[in-house]
């Protein structure tokens, strides 16, 4: 028996093949469901306003039942909520995939295709969604439109619960509470028991009393809750000795329960605060592009962060040590507690796309290597600078995918050797390298069409601005006219001390030495066209 393709299967294949259907569906999904889509921000904002407006409309209507305006708003809101509900149900899963899977399975096993079984599977999957907490809230927000049922109107307040869906801070709050589910349910069970016992006791003792205030079980429960919560309105008070003893016990228990409850919530928040903060940082990063990730906030990381900050570069610091992250926060940097080898963290902070470069600068070669490898695995094109303390690690880091490696100890060794040979030159260049003096070696690119393009060294008059032209890194390998002396430098040509007649071409790079103010001034004047 061959599996026969009926209308359902044909429809499923049609949908699977339709580009438009898939495009629309992924669009809807990106608007409603995906965490990081830019459109979601606006959709969520709109929904929050709509929910609040419909609730305020409800409040307003209590005193002004004659206004029609409210009805329109209500209809509109319900319509939007309904569409929202249906759309979410739609994008929750791919129903046609289920049909296709069933059909292909049947074909493979050479059995007849059971249409009802497929439909049941679809319904089951949809039902799973419909019974989630948020889906029920969504439904409750639409249902009470049938006005004659006055009691149901209270359910309109459930629309406020819809806010949970649209506001990240509220959902964070909920997730913090959810983490303490066990403690809270235990406490709630205990609370239920105490209230039940106390209200039963007071009912038994007081309900038959002459002049007693407790007449029904509802009174008793109301009294028990008011007393337990230490609110104690005093509208219902016990009159018998037995009743008073129950009250005493209930009050004592109430204080205990309340403080227990408070401590659970407080501890949940203190435990989760770093995570909540980290998530904030990540959420802020989601809107940015081209920033650096500084992994490890030790001495090296600190220096790099300070320099990047001075330059106005955006960056985020990642370090597993809370104290260091606190220090980074105090210095006003964006920082989060985490481990650079954690794949989830890496993709959260955008290593797959938005990050321009990752710096692995911890004091451990092992961690740097592992982090380099993890980052390279996620993004084959990203720039990675890694610190290595041992000479042997350098090669391994390159192999793992580091674009550049820097070894503090090797630098120290070279510097020390240089110092012995030429102390004065050392002082000068060490000052330049550590930033102790304000003289810098800097490059100024010659962009096509910029003021520098096509001008000769003599014309740009750097001497007046107290700048020295160390040389020009030329765009091409070919020799230039009036060449003085030049060297091969990587795959380009470095023209040392070019003559006044040396003409700059687009793509060249001027290497200048000078005071940082002169350099800044020069860059500015290049932008302004030589003024």
């Amino acid at each position: 028996m061959r599996a026969r393709a009926n209308w359902l299967v044909r429809l499923a294949y049609h949908l699977e093949g339709s580009k438009r259907y898939r495009r629309v569906k992924s669009l809807v999904r990106s608007i409603l469901v995906e965490q990081n889509s830019p459109a979601r921000l606006y959709v969520d904002g709109f929904m929050i306003v709509l929910v609040l407006a419909s609730i305020f409309g409800l409040i307003y209507e209590v005193r002004h039942p004659e206004l029609d305006f409210d009805n329109y708003l209500e209809t509109f809101a319900v319509l939007v909520f309904f569409l929202d509900y249906v759309a979410r149900l739609w994008v929750h899963d791919d129903a046609h995939r289920i049909v296709i899977d069933h059909y292909e399975q049947a074909e493979f096993l050479d059995k007849p295709f059971d249409t009802w079984k497929a439909i049941r599977a679809i319904l089951k999957s949809k039902w799973e969604y419909m019974t989630t907490f948020m889906a029920i809230v969504d439904l409750l927000a639409i249902v009470p439109t049938y006005r004659p049922l006055r009691l149901l109107r209270i359910f309109l307040l459930f629309r406020l619960l819809k806010l949970f869906r649209y506001s990240r801070s509220i959902s964070e709050f909920v997730s913090v509470l959810a983490e303490k589910r066990f403690e809270l349910t235990t406490l709630l069970g205990f609370l239920g028991f105490v209230i039940f016992a106390a209200s039963t006791a007071i009912y038994l003792f007081e309900s038959h009393m002459e002049g007693g205030q407790i007449e029904t079980m509802v009174d008793a429960i109301y009294w028990a809750v008011v007393t337990l919560s230490t609110v104690g309105y005093g509208d219902i008070t016990p009159h018998t000795t037995e009743g008073r003893v129950v009250t005493l016990i209930l009050i004592t228990t109430g204080i205990g329960v309340l403080s227990f409850f408070t401590s659970i919530i407080v501890s949940a928040f203190t435990e989760r605060m770093p995570m909540v903060k980290a998530r904030r940082v990540v959420a802020n990063l989601e809107r940015q592009k081209g920033y650096s990730v500084v992994g490890g906030f030790g001495r090296v990381g600190e220096t790099v962060a300070r320099l990047l900050d001075e330059e106005g570069e955006r960056f985020v610091i990642v370090d597993p040590d809370h104290e260091r992250i606190d220090l980074a926060h105090r210095l006003g940097y964006t920082a989060l507690v985490g481990d650079l080898s954690d794949q989830n963290l890496l993709s959260d902070i955008g290593v797959r796309g938005r990050v321009a470069r990752v710096l692995c600068l911890t004091g451990s070669d092992v961690i740097n290597l592992y982090a380099t490898l993890s980052v390279r695995y996620l993004n084959p094109d990203i720039e990675i600078v890694a610190r290595c303390d041992k000479k042997e690690t350098e090669r391994k880091l390159r192999y793992a995918g580091a674009t550049h490696t820097v070894s503090p100890f090797r630098v120290a060794g070279l510097i020390a050797a240089e110092y012995l040979e030429q102390p004065v030159a050392f002082e000068a260049i060490y000052g330049v390298m550590t930033g102790h003096v304000s003289v810098l070696v800097d490059t100024v690119p010659v962009n096509p069409g910029s003021w520098l393009d096509g001008r000769s060294i003599g014309e740009i008059s750097v001497g007046q601005q107290q700048l020295l032209v160390l040389g020009v890194i030329a765009a091409g390998q070919e020799p230039r006219e009036h060449e003085s002396n030049s060297y091969n430098y990587c795959d380009r040509r470095f023209h040392f001390r070019p003559r006044k007649s040396f003409r700059l071409h687009a793509g060249d790079m001027l290497v200048l030495i000078g005071h940082q103010l002169s350099l800044a001034h020069f860059r500015e004047s290049v932008l302004k066209g030589g003024q």
Partner: protein
Amino acid sequence: MSTRPKRALVFGCNPVGREVANQLALRGVEVTLCDDLPVDEVRPGAHWGYRRVDITADDELRMVGIGGDVDYLFALFNEEASNVFLVLSARALASGMQIIGLSLSADSENKLLAAGASNVIDPYAISGRKIFRVIRRPDASQLLDHVIFGDANLKLAELHVPEGTPLEGRKLSELEIEERFNLMLLGIVDRGRGNQFFFATVGIDHAIDSDDVLVVIGSREAIEALRGFLSRGE
């Protein structure tokens, strides 16, 4: 100038110490690595020896040559306190010796200088700067490394103006050193103006005196030519 090789003591048997010892030995300095570890626990380097020294005992410090024929001392312990202690002890024993300390935290530099270090190296600050340059100014960074650490055709060099130079009192502007030798003058220590280093960018027209120091960048030949010029004046 004596032809005797310079002697250096490197205190601190750690990655920095070993690296410094290697680099110094490569440049012909006689290096001894010192630490308080037993001799058989230290993997010796190819070009330097190891001595076990207790830095708290002045006798032992004297025995390794401090106050004697040692020219340079590197205090490269991982503990700031040990470095300061060593610098102080060594300075007391040998007032003229060059002492270079390792700065591990931001404020240890001042302590080391106060204790008598002639200079302080901060590998982390340099590395931080370097990383910054690598990512923000990759070209300048590479060029600087090539020039400073001398694996390119260009070299950074300092030239001391010898005693009795014929150029005594001549102005830099009239000598036109840069044009004549195709060099770049980075700066000068002008003894007429104290012991400070002046970058050439400042634009002061210095007069040459004996014992001045010129810091230049150029090819090896050009540097040698200038050296000859400074002593012979032609």
